[in-house]
């Protein structure tokens, strides 16, 4: 342990000297690279990859676990609301799932993940059963567009259900940390008081100036209605809203916002992947994998399948939209995504496994 601590201290002493030393070390330790040697001393010493060590762990409810994770040096922070791809090793196989840090973005020296155990869920159950202080996780850089914009909106509504509390709690804690001058309201649905991972934290946050929190227990008081929203944020129509929760809650809120003509002010995050069904009629046009210089006729199946058939081996994991390992940049073209929508945006990050081309598409892959 003493050696590890000394090595870590030495590694932490940075500066230009260290970076030229690092590039010499890379040249000496080619082709494997410095990380492949450092990790044998201590997995947290890696310089390029990001890892996280669990430094604290608690079980706020029967089926959730909260991990405090200290990321390794390559970590670059996150915007409140974003997610991180977390990788664990289960019986020799790396499994990656997304988790949204629940802490304030201003305190990113430590990340807080709250994971709900899903029945039959591979990664969530593994974390519940084998999570321990000292456990090392693989981490990605923070990703996702569900995030507070740099220019904070004047008033903010947060709506969450169940484990969907994590990204919006991060937003609330971030706003409180920076003494956000506007109004912010949180409407939170949990099944019963015993299913609330953040009961005390929410009580404490509710006492802050400008913050209103309304918690509803669906087992006793039913599901989302417009009244609940009006009670906590009568001004919601002029606010920016961030929503994350189970599909029925998402659906109800979306309908309300659409009916009120303010769908553009609603931002959502889905934890569960919708399934992509591709109609054969979608075939047509060409898919160009620009980095590999491969060009194929689009047969309508997912981009991942077509890339593989064309002899490419893009990264992937779950093949069902869960792990985001297959994310690549779409240079141009229209794609149909799992959620049924079409997107024509250039330079957009797409998940190859749940996206199909609608006509000519260029992908940087």
């Amino acid at each position: 342990m003493a050696i590890r601590a000394a090595v870590r201290r030495a590694a932490a002493r940075s500066g230009t000297q260290a970076s030229s030393l690092a590039s010499l070390a890379e040249r000496l330790l080619t082709p494997h690279g410095v990380d492949r040697y450092l990790e044998l001393i201590d997995p947290m010493l890696v310089r390029r990859e990001i890892r996280g060590e669990v430094v604290a762990l608690r079980r706020p409810t029967r089926d959730s676990i909260t991990l405090t994770v200290r990321p390794s040096r390559a970590w670059q922070g996150f915007a409140a609301g974003q997610f991180v791809r977390v990788t664990v090793d289960i019986d020799g196989v790396r499994r990656t799932r997304c988790y949204s840090p629940a802490g304030s973005a201003h305190r990113d020296g430590e990340l807080e993940f709250t994971v709900k155990a899903h029945e039959g869920g591979l990664v969530s159950r593994h974390l519940h059963e084998h999570g321990h202080v000292g456990m090392v996780l693989g981490l990605s850089h923070a990703d996702g567009t569900f995030a507070l914009p740099e220019q904070r909106p004047d008033s903010i509504v947060l709506i969450a259900g169940g484990s969907g509390i994590t990204p919006v709690l991060s937003m609330l804690r971030t706003l409180v940390d920076e003494r956000y001058p506007g109004e912010v309201s949180l409407l939170y649905y949990a099944r019963t008081p015993a299913d609330m991972p953040y009961a005390e934290e929410l009580d404490e946050l509710a006492s802050r100036r400008g913050v209103r929190i309304h918690v509803r227990h669906t087992a006793a008081d039913g599901h989302f209605t417009a009244d609940h929203l009006r009670r906590v944020a009568p001004w919601f129509a002029r606010a920016t809203t961030y929503l994350c929760g189970p599909p029925p809650l998402m659906e109800a809120v979306r309908t309300l916002y659409a009916d009120a003509g303010i769908a553009g002010q609603l931002h959502t995050e889905e934890f569960t992947p919708p399934v992509l069904t591709v109609a054969a009629s979608e075939a047509g046009g060409r898919i160009r994998f620009t980095r590999s210089g491969v060009d194929v006729a689009n047969d309508g199946r997912t981009l991942l399948e077509q890339a593989e058939d064309a002899g490419l081996s893009p990264d992937h994991g779950c093949r069902m939209g869960i792990c985001f390992s297959c994310t690549q940049r779409k240079v141009s073209g229209v794609v149909r995504t799992a959620s049924g929508g079409e997107s024509a945006e250039d330079d957009e990050e797409i998940q190859l496994c749940v996206t199909a081309a609608a006509g000519d598409v260029d992908i940087d892959c």
Binding site: L24, R27, L28, L29, T30, P31, H32, R36, Y37, L40, D89, D91, G92, V93, R94, R95, T96, S313, G317, S325
Partner: protein, 372 residues
């Protein structure tokens, strides 16, 4: 010689293929943490030996230290290329989804860039195993190792080419991937290999840079000794890899095939060809690891993407299946296999098909009649 297709009846071939598929499915279903732990331990040992070898070069003025350094570094390079590199690049650990064990990303301590090698080895050699004129590993394009290769006065130099290839094996592999032999013969154009050449340039730079420039310079006045030590380690690895690889397909009795007899092959027939065209080497556990388990060439050719530590575990079963179908299972100790290959290299330097009498001394053959 019995033709490839008439060894077994079509029904037997399919039944045989099914047994092989079942064996494979059983191992695949059992892959897990133990396989990962194994390869991680090999990697740890390899990195440890490498660091030890590099460190010992600082005491290179003391001959025993220099020798120990060369030994450690040689072992590190052998483990890196054989049990780790060759096997990882076959995709044996792709199921772990660990980027450090990914066939597409792994790069070995060898001048031949992984990507070029994966194409010529995984695809060409493993698909067209021992098909003369298709498997470019038959004689590596420079040797005559099979009677079906037409003789030419050039082949009088066979023993010389083989010796040079053994000494410079990593460079040979690198040029082999570039199909230099075919470029020289005018069968392919230099310009077709622009991408491969670019990769080779980069890889050569980094490999030569560390072994022959940076590490020697870092030992200051000992630079010449370090340079020589690193060269010695590369040489040891070259000789070892050459020996193991040549014993895999070229001992007497291992068969080669023509393009015609392998047309429209079924999966069962493909398995059959892998068995007839490969030879194992007997030895202890350490020997198997150092050979990258290529000492189980037969099992490797049947299931190239199953972690190599599984080959010794299934060898008994594979051999029993071969026995059941009256198929040969070529195996023998390294010394005998090497001798057999050496004789072949000399024999085929001369015109004709060499002495065609079988050499029962070189390989153990299980050939009990099919119990049909």
């Amino acid at each position: 010689m019995t033709g490839l297709q008439d060894r077994l009846t079509p029904e037997q071939v399919e039944e045989f293929g099914r047994e092989m598929d079942e064996l494979r499915a059983r191992i695949v279903a059992d892959l897990g943490a133990a396989d990962v732990e194994y390869i991680h331990n090999v990697i740890k040992t390899q990195r440890g030996l490498e660091v030890t070898g590099r460190a010992l070069m600082y005491a290179g003025f003391f001959p025993p230290a220099w020798l120990a350094g060369v030994g450690a570094l040689s072992l590190a390079k052998i483990l890196d290329n054989m049990e780790i590199g060759h096997n990882v690049m076959h995709g044996q650990y792709d199921w772990t989804r660990d980027p450090a064990l990914s066939s597409q990303r792994f790069e070995w301590d060898n001048v031949a860039p992984a990507e070029n090698w994966r194409h010529s080895h995984n695809y060409i050699h493993h698909t067209y195993t021992n098909i003369v004129d298709k498997d470019r590993d038959v004689g590596y394009g420079i040797l005559r190792i099979d009677p079906a290769q037409r003789w030419h006065p050039y082949y009088l130099g066979n023993p010389v080419y083989a010796t040079l290839l053994a000494i410079f094996f990593q460079w040979g592999v690198m040029l082999h991937d570039l199909e230099v032999d075919r470029v020289v013969k005018g069968e392919r154009k230099w310009s077709e290999f622009r991408e491969e050449r670019r990769r080779i340039g980069r890889k050569m730079g980094t490999q030569i840079g560390k072994d022959y420039v940076l590490f020697p310079l870092l030992t200051g006045p000992l630079a010449p000794l370090t340079f020589a030590g690193n060269a010695a380690a590369n040489l040891t690895r070259n000789l070892w890899a050459f020996g193991i690889i040549f014993c895999g397909h070229f001992p007497a009795d291992v068969e080669s095939f023509s393009e015609e007899e392998t047309e429209h092959e079924t999966r069962g027939q493909w398995y059959l060809r892998q068995i007839l065209g490969s030879a194992n080497i007997t030895g202890g556990a350490l020997f198997h690891v150092l050979s990258g388990n290529l000492s189980h060439q037969i099992e490797h050719h049947l299931f190239p993407d199953i972690p190599a530590r599984r080959y010794p575990q299934i060898a008994g079963e594979v051999r029993a299946i071969c026995e059941k179908y009256g198929l040969p299972y070529h195996t023998g100790p390294l010394r005998k296999q090497l001798w057999s290959v050496a004789k072949k290299i000399v024999k085929f330097a001369l015109p004709g098909s060499g002495d065609s009498t079988p050499e029962p001394a070189t390989v153990e053959r299980d050939r009990t009649p099919a119990a049909a």
